[in-house]
Amino acid sequence: MHERLQVIVFASQKGGVGKTTLTANLGVAAEMAGDGPAVLIDTDPQGSLAAWWNAREAETPALAPTTLNELPAKLQALGEAGFRYAFLDTPPAITDAIRAVVKRADFVLIPVKASPHDLRAVGRTVEIAQDEGKSFAFVVTQAKSNALLTVQAMAALSEHGVVSPSVMHDRVDYAASMTDGRTVQETDGRSRSASEMAELWEFVKGKMNESTKARKAKVA
């Protein structure tokens, strides 16, 4: 019997917080950690994740084309095909369509920049995850090193939910690696960014295992 497909949705009302970069990096991190096969799904009409994947030489993780209408059936088929994790990128918005995608999630990861605007905007994304009864966590993105603002943002966010201890810092290698279809772990596996992504994946995986266990305990 194969394991059930676990679906991770990256959602945030704000644009430019690094959703697509995170989706690509974590998809690759899952494969590199031996947790594949992983599949990426791009629901953002901007198509940046799909463009990144097209520019990529490696075949893994896979990318599955879909429409919103087909999404439930597509996820079912991907699970039956043996994929273990699906990573869904979404556009920056709060709409019924985003809600429909979140509905399919096992876990929602909410990237947040450590800025007052981003912190104010995070509430509506959290509401959707909570309305749909989904486990979620925040990850601080594009953080400046040694910035007090990052610590303050993590403290503020922790009042609303779990915050990833692994922070995604503002480094050139995130953007540079994305330009030719790679991720930070693939351009330099010993870089600090690569460590961040490996740690973030372990955190997300751990959180998903916790919620799966909690769900099973509830059923039992």
């Binding site: 644009g15 031996g34 947790d35 594949g36 096969p37 599949v39 799904i41 791009d42 629901t43 953002d44 009409p45 901007q46 198509g47 994740l49 799909a50 463009a51 994947w53 097209n54 990529r56 075949e59 896979a62 990318l63 599955a64 084309p65 879909t66 429409t67 919103l68 209408n69 999404l71 597509k74 088929a77 991907l78 095909a81 043996g82 994929f83 273990r84 979404t90 556009p91 920056p92 918005a93 709060i94 709409t95 369509a97 985003i98």
Partner: protein
């Protein structure tokens, strides 16, 4: 050891063909509307007559560029003033 996924045709993309979900509402339409400038004293009517051809072209251009008529007029006026250095 991880096992490879069993792939059927159309389940996953092939290189060069990957595309996003086409039925997701566009980003601009889905974001909360941003309030426009609130001119002092609110909007006032400005009535004058123009030729039929100009009227058609003006309205067609505004519609094609997703602009309100008053916004196109305002931008044209700004551009005109800039061009004439005042």
């Amino acid at each position: 050891m991880k096992k490879p996924a069993a792939l059927s045709s159309g389940l996953v993309a092939i290189k060069g063909s990957a595309a996003p979900a086409h039925d997701m509402p566009t980003r601009s339409a889905s974001l909360a509307p941003t309030p426009g400038p609130d001119p002092e004293g609110g909007l006032q009517p400005l009535n004058f007559r123009v030729g039929a051809e100009f009227r058609r072209e003006f309205k067609t251009y505004a519609a094609a560029h997703d602009l309100k008529l008053n916004e196109l007029l305002r931008r044209s006026f700004e551009a005109y003033r800039k061009q004439h250095g005042d």
